[in-house]
């Protein structure tokens, strides 16, 4: 399984300078991004700052701006741009003849322990 690749979508299923989120059996979604020169990157769909869904951010160059507090996260590394500090897990991507693949092993087990922040009434219960 370690070297197996799971087909995800066609590159054209991802908007240029945009992203799609990939749901997996366990753990948070994986965000796949497409730059304007048709490179594809994948990160855990979770900003290292306050857990915002990076798939919803604005993509520019090889970066994405988190939709919650505008941190800039590098698509190649998952690293937050200085002076902010933090890193979100990066997933390996294979792009063959327009088909996007993610590593099966990473989909199954990479960063499956990380969660999204809780909001709403559930938060009060959680804090109590």
């Amino acid at each position: 399984m370690t070297n197996e690749w799971t087909p995800i979508c066609r590159i054209d299923d991802i908007p240029v300078l945009g992203s799609r989120r990939v749901a997996r059996p366990q753990g948070l979604d994986v965000a796949v991004f497409r730059t304007d020169n048709n490179e594809v990157f994948a990160l855990l769909d979770r900003c290292p700052h306050k857990g915002g869904p990076l798939s919803q951010g604005i993509v520019f160059g090889t970066s994405v701006a988190c939709p919650l507090h505008n941190w800039t996260i590098g698509l190649c590394t998952g690293q937050a741009a200085a002076p902010d500090e933090g890193c979100t897990p990066r997933f390996e991507v294979k792009l063959t003849e327009g088909e996007v693949f993610l590593k099966s092993a990473e989909l199954a087990s990479l960063a499956t322990d990380l969660t999204r922040p809780v909001a709403g009434p559930a938060r009060r219960t959680a804090c109590a």
Partner: protein
């Protein structure tokens, strides 16, 4: 695409002078082009680059020399820079491109250059007095001077500082704190006469006298007398023209600085008030040679403050890196004194003069004095003593040249007197405790900010914002953060470029981008980026939404909206929440609803297990915690139009009950509100837009704090604009009174269209009107009847046939793929 020619061997860059401006240039250069040059630096001082502005706190014992080092020895090594500290450049052969230097031991050294950066700074002016070469007579310029002063303070008692300017007072204050008896000798009748008017100068003198400084004003120094020390060569007293004498074991001359152009002149570079450079910081004589900092004269001005020098550094670095983008256009500067506990600020033509008017507030007992100088309906100068928190606001007004007639009555009371929220009404940073919150948006305390400034060596407001987030959100605490910077880092950071760049991707400001789009009929973001030579291939999260908005607002029906350049809320047509779910607010015209609508909403809440239902401040119902994949179904099931509560667009029209029911009501405000909302919904704008309509002057709809507020009176409707209930509570300005509902629509529409087509992205109506002035708005909307009608027609044209994004996905360019996740 990188078009630069990269040579096989590195080019050689030699820098003469190892000071703040030059090293900043190298830092900027390394950031954008780390491998282009082999860099050699000659510094006459045997220290690495340090923060010269902080010599005063060092002298005062508030900081140590180690703390003010900006670049350690390691920094030079790590970046492969050959540093020759303690080597003075003696000559430069421009034909052979060779720099010759010598050190204290008399050894010599030469270096070849392809580019030369002259950063020789300035040198103190020494009065040509008899005795100027005696021991104990110093200037105040570098670490050696500072150390000598600290040593003298430990051994001797009497100090005389010649010069009552910024530097002289800081020196005097420091020597006094080190236990010396200090007399300041000043040739003018008041202190800091170039930065303060006579009233403020006298207040300053009083306050310094209370601390223990002595002053001799209007005193003309004749000679420095010797005979002291073991060998009789140390200074003992200062003699004046009137025959009097003051004892002195130490004399500090702080009578001004001159650009250090000695070397440049020997190289036959054109010098006039400094080394003359053009807008790219190249010397006018030799394009291979650049000059930045206090030695450079740009358009006749040699700047002595940090912020302009840093702007120069950025431009010079860009050209050295062969990107060829950016011009330095000069800076406006203001003055602040770094004596802890004394607040003073001045900028512009604060002395007044022909054709000027003054507004003055003077409370000598309370130690507060403020003078504003006006000319031709503009603020042209400000001089503040004792309370300087509004300095940055005045400075901005001054720089923008905004007409001030409409705010003249409250100008003196500052920006912060109107409902400033978030920092408990503090206006003096020095008086705050470390644990006090400065920035209420991001919860940043004074202690955190000061610590970051010190530990990370932050120098500008922008850097503090980036590192600490203080004042990075609403900006209402900017004045406080600036004060903290001055006390902690020492420099004057409020100098600003004359136009502020839209973002780091370009040097152009908002207005230039708007103008270019209009004049050249640019229709796509790519066109704008190409035409205006954007520095990045596809912009960033700041400029793309702005440019997209400018395109669609300037060329409705022609420019195509780019959803990928919109913030997520406007891409998914719902408001993202902290957990990644969304909120949905359906439109309820004028805030009125029906049993049918409420039933559908209730059913949707049950069906999609929506956790929270809340009534908003704008009289609408908010469904919070909707999953992204449910959005389309939720909209469909509710069957009400989009409320645009997520967009930079018309949000809600809040109404009171009005004459239909209310026994006090004079006008049918609910109907008026519904009509306004139906006429102007789907209207995108630079920022969110809120209306309110009240049926009588009791104003239950709170129309006084809305972008457009309409208040019904018996004889018609009063219209108020540019109010705001947000960060700064701003009361709307009365614009006009009209008779009919049709007129309310026309005037409101015209005002909105004016704002839509002239406002800068993310500028609320209050800021737009503050920028252009209420008189201008009146001229366009009230006085120009044909112009108003045209604006209103333009808006109707723009809105005609605009889709409801909750139902017309194709037309609204909603990419529905976003709603579903791909399953792996």
């Amino acid at each position: 695409m990188d078009m630069r020619v990269v040579p096989k061997t590195k080019l050689k860059l030699v820098m003469v002078g190892n000071g703040m401006a030059g090293v900043r240039t190298i830092e900027e250069l390394l950031k954008i082009s780390p491998d282009l040059y082999d860099i050699t630096v000659f510094g006459a001082e045997s220290h690495p680059n340090y923060n010269r502005i902080l010599l005063s706190p060092v002298l005062a014992g508030e900081q140590t020399l180690d703390e003010i080092v900006l670049n350690s020895w390691d920094w030079y090594t790590d970046n492969g820079i050959h540093l020759h500290a303690g080597w003075k450049v003696t000559s430069v052969d421009r034909a052979k491109r060779l720099v010759h230097a010598t050190n204290a031991a008399g050894e010599t050294l030469s270096a070849h250059y392809d580019r030369l950066l002259m950063c020789t700074g300035s040198k103190p002016f020494i009065l040509p007095l008899p005795g100027k070469n005696l021991q104990g007579v110093l200037a105040y310029r570098d670490i050696a001077d500072t150390s000598a002063m600290i040593d003298a303070a430990a051994k001797y008692r009497h100090a005389v500082v010649i010069g009552g300017g910024l530097l002289g007072l800081e020196a005097a204050n420091g020597l006094m704190l080190r236990g010396m008896s200090v007399t300041v000798v000043h040739v003018h009748p008041t202190l800091m006469e170039r930065q303060l008017d006579s009233v403020a100068g006298k207040l300053l003198q009083q306050s310094l006298e209370k601390r223990g400084l002595q002053f001799l004003m209007g005193a003309q120094t004749q000679a420095l007398l010797g005979g002291g020390g073991d060998d009789g060569r140390r200074v003992t007293a200062v003699a004046f023209k009137d025959g009097t004498q003051v004892p002195a074991d130490l004399v500090v001359m702080a009578v001004g600085i001159r650009p250090n152009t000695e070397l440049a002149e020997s190289m036959r570079l054109h010098c006039s008030k400094g080394i003359v450079v053009n807008d790219t910081l190249q010397t006018v004589t030799d394009a291979r040679i650049y000059s930045v900092g206090e030695c450079a004269a740009h358009r006749g001005i040699a700047y002595g403050l940090v912020a302009p020098l840093f702007e120069q550094a950025k431009v010079a670095a860009n050209h050295l890196a062969q990107f060829g983008i950016g011009r330095y256009m000069g800076s406006l500067t203001s003055t602040k004194l770094k004596v802890t506990g004394i607040d003073l600020f001045s900028a512009g033509q604060f002395m007044g003069g022909e054709g000027t008017e003054e507004i003055v507030m003077s409370d000598p007992f309370g130690g507060v004095y403020k003078k504003l100088v006006l000319k031709d309906n503009q603020l042209i100068g400000a001089c503040l003593y004792g309370d300087t928190v509004d300095g940055s606001w005045y400075f901005k007004l001054l720089r923008d040249g905004r007409p001030i007639a409409d705010i003249r009555d409250k100008l003196m009371f500052g920006e912060s007197n109107i409902g400033d929220a978030g920092h408990q009404g503090h206006n003096k940073a020095a008086a705050m405790k470390d644990s006090d919150e400065v920035c209420g948006c991001n919860g940043v305390t004074k202690g955190t900010i000061c610590k970051a400034i010190k530990e990370k060596g932050l120098m500008t407001l922008d850097e503090v914002r980036k590192h600490t987030k203080a004042s990075a959100s609403c900006g209402s605490c900017t004045g406080l953060v600036e004060q903290l910077l001055i006390f902690t880092a020492g420099a004057d950071y409020s100098a600003t470029p004359k136009t502020k760049a839209l973002c780091a991707c370009t040097d152009h400001g908002h207005q230039a981008v708007r103008d270019a789009i209009k004049t050249n009929k640019l229709l796509t973001i790519a066109d704008v980026f190409a035409f205006m030579e954007w520095k990045t291939p596809n912009g960033c999260a700041s400029c793309r939404p702005a440019v997209n908005y400018y395109l669609i607002s300037t060329w409705p029906k022609q420019a195509k909206d780019d959803p990928q350049s919109r913030f997520i809320n406007e891409r998914s047509h719902a408001n993202i929440q902290k957990d990644g779910t969304y909120s949905v607010i359906p439109r309820m015209w004028g805030g009125e609803t029906t049993a049918g609508e409420l039933r559908r909403i209730a059913d949707v809440v049950d069906k999609y297990k929506i956790p929270t239902v809340k009534v908003t401040g704008g009289q609408r119902i908010d469904l919070l915690g909707v999953k992204k994949e449910d959005l389309q179904a939720v909209w469909q099931d509710i069957g009400m139009p989009s409320g645009h509560a997520y967009a930079k667009a018309l949000r809600t029209v809040k109404t009171c009950v009005g004459s239909e029911w209310c026994r006090m009501g004079t006008q049918d405000s609910t109907q008026m509100g519904k009509d306004l909302e139906r006429a102007m919904w789907r209207m995108y704008a630079p920022h969110k837009v809120k209306f309110a309509v009240s049926g009588c002057p009791r104003n239950c709809a709170e129309a006084g704090i809305k972008d457009v507020g309409i208040i019904g009176v018996d004889s018609g409707w009063e219209m108020y604009v540019a109010g705001n209930g947000g960060i700064k509570t701003e009361v709307a300005h009365f614009l006009v009174k009209v008779k009919t509902a049709a007129e309310v629509l026309e005037y409101t529409g015209a005002f909105c269209e004016l704002y839509r087509t002239e406002g800068w992205y993310l500028e609320r109506t209050v800021h737009y009107v503050n920028r252009v002035g209420l008189d201008y708005v009146k001229k366009r909307i009230v006085e120009d009847h044909a112009g108003r009608k045209e604006l209103w027609e333009n808006l109707q044209f723009a809105l005609d046939g605009e889709p409801d994004p909750w139902f017309e996905f194709d037309k609204a360019a909603v990419d529905t793929r976003q709603f579903e996740a791909i399953s792996a």
